[in-house]
Symmetry: C2
Subunit: 355 residues, 2 copies
DNA sequence: TTGAAAGCGGTACCAG
DNA sequence: CTGGTACCGCTTTCAA
């Protein structure tokens, strides 16, 4: 529990001045501090296990090397933690840490959270949402470089703020095209629900791909059924428990959990996957999509990338050389919102339809 | 982007002194600052949107009101984020924030992570592990009040450090007893793997409960099969795809995912759950256990509690009145390791065996 | 009741 | 090349 050594302690032990110690520790020593003095300082520092107090440094530099992170429930939420992980990883590479606050889905807490973070003089701010949605940019976000991950401003803001979201339309279109290329024509779209714009964007992608292929969309096969194993199971039962001729040959689910429920339903009806029925998920949820029996063909949500790009955009504006900002497509009517591609993961739940 | 107001700005605007401002903001004003001056100070603070710079305060007080959080992969990992959420929630209630670093499962990074945190003068430290295991207590943990969550010291340490883990033995025994009370006698234990001591503790609980009930354990029905949907599926196929008389009437899985795989296997064999077969999971993983078809009977891992109790033990040692430290059972031979009860969640995947 | 001053630890400027 | 000093913003003590 002994008090940590300070620069003064080191200076005394090394018979040098505080300034010399400071310079040595900031690489500014050469040409200002003699080789011998430097040697003595390093040695003393080692002995005392000295390392500079970052709080003091922050106060002095008016720069904390900390990025504040506001999330609604991302830490708690299953795979959305990956957004934060992506952001953290990049930050750490550049000597930054993140200070996070979770508002636990309580809108009222965001203002306070931002304030708390700002009082700690964070150098930048990130807003991370667990389910894709539009948000009101919290007060205070404009006072430091900041960005949004997995969310975007509900209303155009006077001070534009970069946002990074998945390219849902193209992701869904890719999945649909995958099925079409396998030879499917009877495709049902059993999407999630309107709790997130992602749902309708995915429907949009589905319709685009069908239209491009000149395939008709059966409207009673376009349904919004929720995001759960349970709801996926129930929906699949309705759609599949019919005469063979009336059955779709492929199902597109709103996410991997719903897809898992659909697999369960299909199996209980004696349908084999992918022989009798193809199923596509969404998210590429770790431990679900890759581990299902059969492993799910799905569309990967670019969680890590979102966190990383959002963080990069902040670091860049802080003057860090944090790599190239990639040239990403922009959301129609909101050029500050960049869309990150969603990759198709073709696995074992899709195959050509039975002849 | 205007510079934030300081106490001096407020003092000037309110025609008072810096000290007065400080006192007002620390509730130490009454009896030292005139009512009118206080009024003017509040008003000025409001106008300038003043709030004290916490970095400066930290430097001055030698107390940052920040708890450092070291995890191997907990942020990334699905439901283990709940440990952190529990810790954060409690911390926040007492005006603390957490500064987290993820070592991404790289042992070598822990030392550096702790150092980084300590340089920021965190008031305490938490080590959060994503899969229950023993660890080497990182250097530096003894310099501030600290605790372990979901892990415990591999070797007895000279400076004991509180650790909080789930009571796996009793949890598993409870699940087994639940099956026995339903009337099951032919119970297979298809546990995870030895990557974590939890696996053998759960076996131990299983055997205890069987023995207490005077039931024999069929050794070929005690298997370690991994933690995945896939491996659960495969194992269940082996155990279930036999003559009716040779089949267990209940399966205990290592976790909910493996249990899900077992459900899948059972359904594909035409077995109805719970009518023909009962299945018990472990973890109560959100979105899996509660959403499976049928909803899984399982044992809840006390993630939030672990985070909360670990944090509480730190706050308590920091002199905060953070509630009562509960009287929890201790691990044999390691009194510093407290075990938190795991509650049974009886749902729809268990029922009395078919007559 | 008020205000001036010291000091937390580090950095940077400037005179020696 | 070296060491003294001012300052970052806040709190606390002490003298007026």
């Amino acid at each position: 529990m002994a008090r940590k050594a300070t620069a003064l302690d080191v200076a005394r032990l090394a018979r040098a001045s505080r300034s010399a110690v400071s310079m040595v520790f900031n690489g500014r020593a050469d040409g200002s501090v003699s080789k011998e003095a430097q040697e003595r300082i390093w040695e003393a520092a080692r002995q005392l296990e000295y390392s500079p107090n970052q709080i003091a440094r922050s106060l002095r530099d008016q720069r904390s090397h900390v990025i504040g992170l506001v999330s609604n429930a991302a830490v708690t939420s299953a795979f959305d933690g990956a957004i934060i992980a992506g952001a953290n990883a990049l930050a750490e590479r550049f000597g930054f840490l993140t200070l996070s606050t979770d508002t636990e889905n309580d809108e009222h807490r965001t203002v306070g959270a931002v304030r708390t973070l700002l009082d700690r003089t964070v150098d930048g701010l990130l807003y991370v949402l667990s389910g894709l949605n539009s948000i009101a940019v919290p007060q205070g976000f404009h006072t430091v470089p900041s960005a949004l991950a997995h969310c975007f401003p509900a209303h155009p803001t006077d001070q534009p703020i970069p946002a990074f979201i998945p390219d849902e339309v193209r992701g869904s279109a890719t999945a649909t095209r995958h099925l079409i290329e396998l030879g499917h024509t009877r495709i049902a779209f059993l999407g999630g629900s309107f709790t997130t714009p992602a749902a309708s964007w995915r429907e949009q992608g589905f319709r685009q791909a069908m239209a491009s292929a000149g395939l008709p969309v059966r409207e009673d096969w376009v349904q919004y059924i929720g995001w759960n194993i349970t709801t996926g199971h129930a929906a699949a039962m309705r759609v599949l428990d019919v005469a063979d001729a009336d059955r779709p040959s492929a199902l597109i689910a709103g996410n991997d959990r719903a897809a898992a429920g659909m697999v369960l339903a299909a199996v209980s009806l004696g349908l084999r996957i992918p022989d009798d029925l193809s199923i596509v998920g969404y998210d590429d949820e770790f431990g679900i999509a890759d581990q299902m029996v059969p492993a799910l063909t799905t569309v990967a949500l670019p969680q890590l990338r979102m966190g990383e790009e959002a963080m990069r955009s902040v670091l860049l504006r802080l003057g860090l050389d944090a790599g190239e900002a990639p040239d990403l497509p922009r959301l129609d009517g909101a050029p500050e919102v960049r869309m990150i591609p969603c990759a198709l993961r073709a696995r074992d739940s899709t195959a050509p339809p039975a002849a």
